[in-house]
């Protein structure tokens, strides 16, 4: 328990001490709200779909979480390269608890980022429909954050250096984000694209978050909740397993 706590605390301290990173990672969601939210707003309204900002809000919140969480997981590579990983690996504690502490720490920073983006979105005209559903929205944010930190950790466990980082961003994280229903509605999409979105774990995160915040949903809240929880637990165990196999 102490192990998990001290690793969680470490991730948090490192995050809070890197101010440029906090501010920098807010840039992307804000840009999306300005360029897409305000830019596509009129045409979205003309198409008879109402407020685009209301649709986009949960997508951009998810984006803030995904990128921060993924990055926290991948940071493991730096720990490996700068030697700190060895210090944790020779300690007499289970590797799984180290991985869990790291993941929860990274997820907390992702969650923090999500909340900040959510507040910013309100200034861009995003409206929360039911305050009573806010805890549920919060829960979805936690799930997305844990899922992507664990994914980053799992991938980083198998990598020796940062060379593959652009590959992961461009061929995994970006497609997952763009094809998740974060930016456009999934109804009426060409069949192949629709199928991709159904197999994308983030789709259920975005959809669940949108359902909790605005009441709009494609898959239904319980489906989102069930699928995302199951996948997150699965990924924690995969990440834990891969982490326990690390040799340095």
């Amino acid at each position: 328990m102490n192990t998990i706590y001290i690793l969680w605390l470490r991730q948090l301290k490192k995050y809070l001490r890197s101010k440029p990173r906090i501010i920098g990672s807010l840039g992307q969601p804000v840009l999306f709200m300005v360029a897409l939210g305000l830019g596509f707003g009129p045409i979205y309204a003309q198409a008879g779909r109402g407020s685009y900002m209301e649709f986009l809000g949960p997508g951009v919140i998810a984006m803030g979480i995904v990128f921060t969480a993924m990055f926290s997981g991948i940071e493991l590579i730096w720990d490996r390269q700068f030697g700190f990983l060895k210090e944790t690996l020779v300690a007499p504690v289970s590797r799984f608890s180290i991985m869990l502490g790291r993941t929860l720490g990274g997820a907390t920073t992702g969650l923090f980022q999500g909340v900040v983006v959510c507040v910013l979105a309100l200034f861009f005209g995003f409206k929360i429909m039911h305050l009573a559903y806010l805890p549920l929205a919060f829960f979805f944010m936690i799930l997305i954050a844990v899922f992507f930190t664990a994914l980053g950790t799992a991938i980083a466990s198998r990598l020796q250096d940062m060379q593959a980082f652009p590959l992961i961003m461009n061929f995994l994280v970006m497609p997952m984000f763009f094809l998740s229903g974060a930016l456009f509605p999934l109804q009426g999409l060409p069949r192949p694209i629709y199928l991709v979105t159904r197999f994308n774990p983030l789709s259920y995160g975005v959809d669940g978050l949108r359902a909790a915040l605005t009441g709009q949903s494609s898959f239904g809240l319980s489906t989102d909740l069930f699928i995302l929880t199951a996948l997150t637990l699965l990924l924690i165990f995969i990440g834990g397993y891969l982490f326990s196999k690390i040799e340095v």
Binding site: W78, F82, G83, F84, K86, E87, L89, V90, P92
Partner: protein, 274 residues
Amino acid sequence: MWFNDEPMESPNAIIEVKNLTKKFGEFVAVDHINFSVPPGEIFALLGPNGAGKTTTIKMLTTLLQPTSGEMRVHGSDPATQQDAVRHAFGIVFQDPSLDDDLTAYENLEFHGVLYGVASDIRRERIKMVLELVELWDRRQDLVKKFSGGMKRRLEIARSLIHHPKILFLDEPTLGLDPQTRNHLWSYIHDLNKKEGMTILLTTHYMEEAEKVANTVAIIDHGKLVAKDSPEGLKKQTNTTSLEEAFLALTGSSIRSEEAGGLDQMRLHRRMWGK
């Protein structure tokens, strides 16, 4: 070779290694080495670059699984009884292993928590070891502000917080100035005398090994080529210093060692704005 026929079952040994072998693909990094270290000894593992010293230490400290052979560290097998072994040793790695974004105090506290040192004892020991390496005044500074020598001292302080029975030092004085090196060795010597701590070290500074070590083992190309007291080695090779004895035993050709990706990483780290 003669020492391979030696009986290795020394009942009192705190570290015992028998036919230990590690292969990376076709490359044999450590090749059937045998040695044992009695409790309270300072044991130096010497060898040219790429000889297999660090690989041996990694196997003894549970970081690498051996390809074959047996090991005992404080009565347990590092390959299968990791937890028992991990409680028993402290280590200063060849490469830095501190978290630069944490303060000196936080780095030590992190270590203490991982090793299950109770909080009141932890506070006491952190103060003690920081005073010992003369970094108590700098405890609230981020480690990234420290010089190489200060980081090394902090790592040594950290390795002592859980009172290990065995201390592994992998080139602890690499890149340090003579003053700091002297200071460190006298400190390590003290620990060994006062606490009876067993110390296994590697170094490229032969005069340091000659001064502190009770026993010196020389490995080259993954094989143990000699093991004796510094005096014994000099006598055996008819030389007057350990450095000459070392050269006589390992030849004077320069060894190649694979470069790590560390420099590349530094570049990436800057690029990604960490």
